[in-house]
Symmetry: C2
Subunit: 205 residues, 2 copies
């Protein structure tokens, strides 16, 4: 299913077409596409080029591993994510490699790398759905995530399917309209809460 963003200004196709379906097809992800989405993550920017990210991949065919990752999800995610061909646990390094002191942008940089992954996936006709709803400490224990690293999200990756393939309770959310705050609510200038004059048509060129 396609569900393009209703943008006020044109944006790149791979950003506008991205959305987070729950209906995934069991069709596997081709190896070359998987390598491409990971390569995109690899080239994300990061503070000091630290690259404070790691990904734990589980393919549906690798049953023990896939079930382990599925097992840490909250029930409301597990019910649909079990159909996805690939699940990815995303993990941020929250300390600087060299000094061991806190890296306050480690999680931010993981978000950047994962968005690169998502944009690349969209450009290849794949869908993604990121989940914050999982047991972080269970994931840490099961996959032996070391201290100083933090599991942040689980990404479902694959081809989307017809919403009719979903349990009935989830079908409504799948087709509901996509909504976002207007720019005036989060783009400020000078001081917090004052919409930027750069947004106005008589504003700065």
């Amino acid at each position: 299913m396609e569900k393009p963003a209703e943008t006020n200004t044109p944006i790149h196709d791979s950003l506008a077409r991205r959305w987070s379906p729950r209906a995934f097809s069991e069709r596997p992800v081709e190896r070359e596409k998987l390598l491409s989405v990971l390569e995109a993550a690899r080239w994300a920017p990061s503070s000091r080029n630290e690259q404070p990210w790691a990904y734990l991949l589980a393919a549906r065919e690798d049953i023990a591993n896939f079930d382990a990752l599925l097992g840490v999800l909250v029930d409301s995610n597990r019910v649909w994510a079990q159909k996805a061909p690939i699940l990815i646990l995303t993990v941020a390094h929250t300390r600087w490699q060299k000094e061991g002191t806190p890296n306050r942008v480690g999680i931010y940089d993981l978000g950047q790398a994962t968005t690169n992954l998502v944009v690349q996936a969209t450009s290849l006709g794949l869908s993604t759905h990121q989940m914050g709803g999982f047991n972080v400490e269970a994931a840490r224990a099961r996959f032996h995530v070391p201290e100083g690293w933090e599991p942040v999200t689980v990404v479902a990756l694959g081809y989307s399917a017809d919403p009719e393939t979903l349990p009935e309770a989830l079908r409504g959310r799948e087709i509901e309209k996509r909504r976002r705050k207007p720019l005036e609510e989060f783009v400020f200038s000078g001081t917090w809460g004052i919409p930027s004059p750069l947004l106005e048509s008589n504003g700065n060129k």
Copy 2:
């Protein structure tokens, strides 16, 4: 200057061409392009569709505001960032809007929105350079960032310029080769540190 990533697998042009120059032209950013990069950020995904991000914009022409944002940067960033036509302070909501409890993915979601902004900028021929090096508490105080929100990065946005326009000490870094860890160092399966068999050519399709 162009400095495309030397990727092992093809990735989207707007991801491969993105890099973080220090040499910025004083050429202003067209209003329609600025709106487009902000619109791209607006449509990023976020946990519970919380959209836990805000941007404080400063255009070079708005001298008091621009100088205030420039003033919170560390010296090594201020020296080149002063040429950029737009600086953006990125701010994450680290609490859930409704409950007021900690949102552990607020900073991650800000990273996602900002990457959307960066991808859109690249697709429009603009350059970006994100900086973690600034005084977070000074930025909070100067721009009245409320409790529960966290300044995370400052983004320089504009058109890149010839490296020769940089102070001599910065020219070498501008042209140095771009480097990243190989996938095997951060893409695992089953347990931490074990490179995923999905990366191998005889791996899972």
